[in-house]
């Protein structure tokens, strides 16, 4: 066997050499440090819900790895051009595309190995804390394709424009691209920017994303198709690059020299990539908001809009507090918060017999058009009355580590929202994009404060909103606090009796601060 034949039949040694000498190895410690500070710590701050924590893979990890993937790939690709060894290497037996494939393969090897190690770290940490569900794979697929796309963009830039500034400019360019995507993703609205949906970046997800309804893979499919299309098109461009360097008259000669099949393959890759990316762009433009996330009609499976069956985890006897099994870690905190105040209002007209977690998606986000109507509403409903609450509770959310609920401040927030729903009814939301939940009126605030004081909780904070210079609640916080102290100083039986007689009027907003005993 001749050296030429050996070289033709065994591409693996070249790849092994490239992997061993890859410049990415130098950047791996930096990538791991970035991963720890940004992605891992962010994921650890989310509740231990698989779908929520996995969102970090696409929103943070791709942005952390992408610019370095582009810059380092550009550096690797521009090697021959920088060293002006093109002509020298053109005389070797191995074709240019094979050399480039080995260099790109080695770059991707270390990048993806580091990326997948990061994914494994997030998933192992989640597995240790999660109480329901399993690891989703679509975010991993999107993340891997995203990193590959960034790398191929950089590699193409480096191969076509070799120079000392290509690598940093490729890194900065892709960094800016990711940043613009993040900017668009934070402002995404139905019927808005298509790029916002194609960007892998997302806003901070709701704590129960993918819990009550599965996350539809529609958007992930489109993102993979879009980025994969770009990657394939750029690979086609790289394949055709040698033909761009010959003059028009020498084009045919160039084709015959380099190989017709290579030319055909390059054109086919370019066409397929552009078609896939364009199709994905068009599909993303048809996305609509559904209970399972963004639904793309051509790809959507209506089965994913059905609720995911589950058996709630409950605590308590006369008053039951239930959570979704994905939030079992929060049950103790929720139960400890609600039982004392539930006992205070037990027997009153409309007093709930049960507290149950329902899907997020009401209130301010609904007013922005970002969630669908038709979901179970937070607040009191049904016969006998049930208190429905969400993980997206503004004062005491099921977010972060469940250990974070083991404090008086969190419990007080949970009690405040519960009592506000009972005493003041459904929260009133001001109209418009900047919608805000309006506070209860002065008498309602005083009663809520008194009931919380009676169970030993800190006084709630309602804010000091003003309308045209006057307190929105109808009285100043000092006046409300004095009335609350007066009401709390009554005996438990007296408070209960007064509430039993006046609760409908209080709930309707017809009781003034002065009318409180």
């Amino acid at each position: 066997m001749t050296a030429v034949a050996l070289s033709r039949s065994r591409p693996a040694p070249v790849l092994r050499i490239e992997i061993r000498r890859s410049v990415v190895l130098w950047a791996v410690p930096l990538l791991l440090a970035l991963f720890y500070f940004d992605s891992f710590r962010t994921a650890a701050g989310f509740p231990p819900v698989w779908t929520v924590r996995s969102s970090v893979i696409t929103s943070h990890m791709v942005a952390d790895f992408g610019p370095f993937a582009a810059g380092l790939a550009a550096w690797v690709a521009s090697r021959e051009g920088r060293r002006k060894t093109d002509d020298l290497l053109a005389t070797t037996v191995r074709p240019a595309w094979a050399r480039q494939a080995s260099a790109l393969g080695a770059t991707l090897f270390w990048l993806l190995l580091t990326f997948l190690a990061g994914v494994a770290a997030i998933y192992i940490d989640t597995a240790r804390q999660a109480t329901w569900g399993g690891p989703p794979l679509w975010p991993v697929a999107v993340g891997v394709v995203g990193v590959v796309t960034f790398a191929v963009i950089g590699f193409t830039a480096g191969a076509l424009f070799p120079g000392r500034f290509t690598a940093p400019l490729a890194a900065i360019g892709t960094f800016l691209l990711a940043e613009i995507g993040f900017h668009a993703a934070l402002q995404v609205v139905p019927g808005g920017s298509t790029y916002a949906l194609l960007s892998t970046a997302t806003a901070v997800p709701l704590g129960d994303d993918g819990v009550f309804y599965r996350v539809a893979p529609d958007l992930s499919i489109v993102q993979v198709m879009f980025m994969g299309g770009i990657t394939v098109a750029l690979l086609g461009l790289l394949t055709l690059a040698p033909f761009f360097r010959v003059a028009y008259r020498g084009l045919l000669a160039g084709v015959s020299r380099t190989g017709r099949w290579l030319c055909v393959a390059g054109v086919a890759l370019l066409a397929a990539g552009v078609t896939a990316a364009a199709t994905a762009f068009a599909l993303a433009g048809t996305a609509q908001l559904a209970v399972s996330g963004w639904a793309i009609p051509a790809l959507h499976d209506s089965a994913s809009d059905q609720p995911v069956p589950y058996t709630p985890d409950c605590a308590g006897t006369s008053f039951k507090v239930c959570v979704h099994p994905a939030f079992s870690g929060f049950l103790g905190g929720a139960n400890a918060a609600l039982q004392p105040v539930a006992a205070e209002i037990a027997g009153l007209p409309g007093a709930p017999v049960r507290a149950e977690q329902v899907p997020s998606g009401e209130g301010v986000r609904a007013a922005q058009g970002l969630v669908l109507p038709g979901l179970r509403r937070a607040g009191l409903s049904g016969t006998p009355p049930v208190y429905n609450y969400t993980s997206d509770n503004g004062l005491a959310p099921f977010f972060g580590s469940p250990e974070g609920t083991d404090n008086a401040g969190w419990r007080a927030g949970f009690q405040q929202v519960f009592l506000t729903a009972f005493i003041a009814g459904q929260p009133h939301v001001s109209p418009g994009r900047d919608a805000a939940v309006l506070p209860p009126n002065a008498a309602q605030q005083a009663v809520i404060t008194a009931l919380m004081t009676a169970v030993g909780s800190p006084a709630p904070v309602f804010g000091e909103d003003t309308t045209n210079g006057q307190p929105t609640a109808g009285a100043t916080p000092t006046q409300i606090a004095a009335a609350a102290q007066r009401f709390a100083s009554l005996s438990s039986a007296a408070r209960h009796a007064w509430l039993a007689a006046h609760l409908p009027a209080l709930r309707a907003g017809r009781v003034t601060l002065a009318q409180l005993p």
Partner: protein
């Protein structure tokens, strides 16, 4: 017939051209060897992108996120200027030129000034969050990181660490960190942040002036 016979007659002497002073010529040749003109062009591109972002609303004007986009551009400008630390001549230049440390010092300082000037020119008349103070502080500090990095990685790969710092600072920005060494997140007139950024730049310039960028690693990789 000898080679002398086939030699062409010497061409008539060309008219004397204006020659710059030797010092200026040395500086110009040094800059050309470091691709300074191309770096200035790349800085102009950075400035153009920043201006386009301000004009077309690619960035947030206020709040936590307002500094993100400009910071990437500023870090990019710093990364571009540290690429000019690479010498194509390596060891021979070090042994032959006694003016080299001064040329390094002058080039690093001049390029930092040019980067700040170009970016300031780009945002003139547009409202940039933090203004020129934050922009200058970011460029100075991140350039210092790049200059220090060039001593280890070589000039051509000296952009990697500044990019890492930018990515880290983006996280610090979102998390509202207040450490002075995360100077991009600090207010424009914050003394601690200025002190940190200037200290890093001073350390980078001094080390780079004395040692110069590493020449072997970048060429070998």
């Amino acid at each position: 017939m000898t080679t002398t016979d086939v030699q062409k007659p010497a061409a008539p002497a060309a008219p004397a051209r204006w020659q710059p002073a030797p010092g200026l010529r040395l500086v110009w040749l040094h800059w050309r060897s470091r691709r300074v003109p191309a770096a200035v062009l790349a800085l102009a591109v950075c400035g153009g992108v920043l201006r386009a972002a301000l004009e077309w609303g690619w960035l947030f004007r206020t709040g936590h996120f307002a500094q993100e986009f400009p910071m990437i551009i500023e870090g990019g400008a710093a990364a571009v200027l540290v690429i000019t630390t690479h010498s194509p001549f390596g060891e021979p230049e070090r042994t032959a030129s006694r003016w080299l440390p001064y040329l390094r010092l002058g080039t690093a300082a001049a390029m930092t000034g040019v980067a700040i000037g170009v970016l300031q020119l780009a945002v003139t008349g547009a409202s940039l969050d933090g203004g020129i103070l934050v922009m200058a502080r970011n460029v100075i500090g991140i350039a210092g990181i790049g200059l220090l990095s060039s001593l280890v990685t070589g000039g051509l790969l000296a952009w990697v660490l500044p990019m890492g710092y930018i990515a880290f600072a983006e996280y610090a920005l979102l998390e509202s960190w207040t450490n002075p060494w995360t100077w991009p997140v600090r207010p424009p007139a914050d003394h601690g942040a200025w002190l940190c950024a200037c200290a890093v730049f001073a350390a980078g310039v001094v080390a780079f002036t004395i040692r110069g960028a590493r020449t072997r690693l970048a060429d070998d990789s």
